[in-house]
Symmetry: none
Subunit: 191 residues, 4 copies
């Protein structure tokens, strides 16, 4: 009996996930340019040719991986999509950032490593900005409403700080005191 359309779709999606996971691991390990399509295929247990059935090319593969990560973040902050931010929402936002990191360190470790690569950044520059700017605008508005002197500097500093924390945690999750540091940010920025 042939598989149902549903089953085929499931197989495809599982396989896509395997390819993406494998690729992310290898991109993190050897760099984007240093990882060949055929080595990913081999490790993922499929043929080279079949890779192109799932992703149109190498660029598509890395973009998909990166955008998947964006989407997770975007989804989490869905609550703020109205463009307005209360103090409580922002505190949630900050805490949630650390929770997401802690919940899946290994994924985000790879994610950061992959994202930092110059050639990768170049590929997703536009999408990255499309994702980042609304968040930044919302933050700036928040600090404006708080009546601080330099709202953009505040917003940029908070963003940069969250980047720095993520990076430090992800590089050395065992030693970086993420909970204390998170509390400290809230204390410094949001009290």
């Amino acid at each position: 009996m042939p598989r149902t359309e549903e089953q085929y779709k499931d197989i495809r999606e599982q396989r896509r996930a395997i390819i993406k996971d494998t690729a992310m691991e290898m991109f993190a390990e050897k760099g984007f340019a240093g990882t060949s399509i055929s080595s990913i295929a081999k490790k993922a247990g499929i043929s080279k040719g079949l890779m192109y059935n799932y992703f149109t090319n190498k660029e598509d593969l890395i973009k998909t991986i990166i955008l998947d990560g964006f989407n997770i973040v975007v989804e989490v902050f869905d609550a703020n999509k109205d463009g307005k931010l209360t103090r409580e929402e922002l505190i949630f936002f900050v805490k949630e950032t650390s929770n997401i990191l802690k919940a899946n360190v290994s994924f985000w470790r790879l994610y950061f490593i992959v994202m930092m690569q110059a050639d990768v950044i170049k590929l997703i520059e536009n999408e990255f900005m499309d994702f980042l700017m609304p968040l930044l605008t919302t933050l700036i508005k928040y600090f404006e409403n708080q009546g601080v002197e330099n709202p953009e500097a505040h917003a940029r500093l908070l963003g940069a700080t969250l980047d720095g924390i993520s990076l430090n945690y992800v590089v050395d999750p065992e030693h970086f005191p993420i909970d204390e540091v998170t509390d400290l940010i809230i204390d410094k920025f949001l009290k």
Copy 2:
């Protein structure tokens, strides 16, 4: 008659400088793996073959560049070598960080990119840690002396924040308001 030894030395040093500057710019622009030796040669106005007269290979070139910059950093923070930090010294430290970044964006861009690449990290891992750990220790001591509740969290947060700022500035130097953000850090952490 051949040129004098002095003349040959001058030629070599000038050429080496041109190659390093050009390479750094391109590595920062396109990444290490994404920049070919021949494209550097072309941009530097010399032949591909001559590159190998000045650097034994691509790895030698990137290492030389990284270590050159590393020496600059070590020299700048030499003042803090006593291991004790006053508030004024720390403020100087923070400001100097942004000054160094601004003074040579393209180098620090490359520097960050390189530090993120797993296989390149291994090349200078040891030297990097030898440089970083004393700074962290000194920072922790500073916050201990300030009598804050969680000195390590403060030190880590400040370090992470400087990382995040550096990263954000380096990725988009035209838009990131580094001076305002720097003032804000001083205001938040060191007042």
Copy 3:
């Protein structure tokens, strides 16, 4: 649908044979170092890249060719694998050498020319010794059992003589009286 495993195997074996034959001819004509991979590819009617699908590198190619020849010889002398040699076996051995040469002069002509090249010898030194030493040891034992005064010199001389005959025959098969010379060796060494 992909080809069957059988089909792929057939394709690979045919291609490998074509590449090896072409390479041997060119190595004999222009020397190992003087023959480029891409020129072999062109003459074999395939792309440069495909060469590396069949042989991991140039060294692998020459080694495969040389070891193919060893294996033919080893197989023929399989009968002597017990390490003991009767006079009859040794006579068979000597006669078989000339028979093998006569049966495929053109192959062995190329083979000798390729084998004589210093850079080639260097690459297969170990394998060559692994192949040669057992034969030599067996020969020495034979002459020991015959009670001659200097068994190693006898064994070496017989080996060198067979080399010289092969070389002379292969260089000029039409004029070199291989049968008479073979009979003479048997007469001189094995009576």
Copy 4:
């Protein structure tokens, strides 16, 4: 005081000799293609550019070396030019072969390597044959006078044996017992 013309000529000739000796050693060690002009220059203690003042190019250098050696050989066997061979002369001939080999292994190593390369053979083929054929004829006559059944087979076998010995010795001069083997030939063929 400037050097005399004579002195300049002496210096040139000494330098040419040094270059040739150095080159021969390196060609024998690493093969012709595997030895770079600049490595010869470095080992000979002169600049790369000056090499071209002494030899018009790499081919000129190898040809000069080969023809030099060829002249040595012709000179040594001049004594046998009368076409008649006594047993004592033939024994001297055989012994002299091994003496010449032993006296300059690295040259003969190179010489054999070069003779094996098809395109180089064509350069000196004629001179080589002019030298070899009379020797063969003389040998055949010798065995005729000895009253052996098949004089040509004897002459060919002796020639081939000397070739084989030369080859084996030159390939592995440290282990090949050339003196014992030489004595054995004399014993087998010339007693």
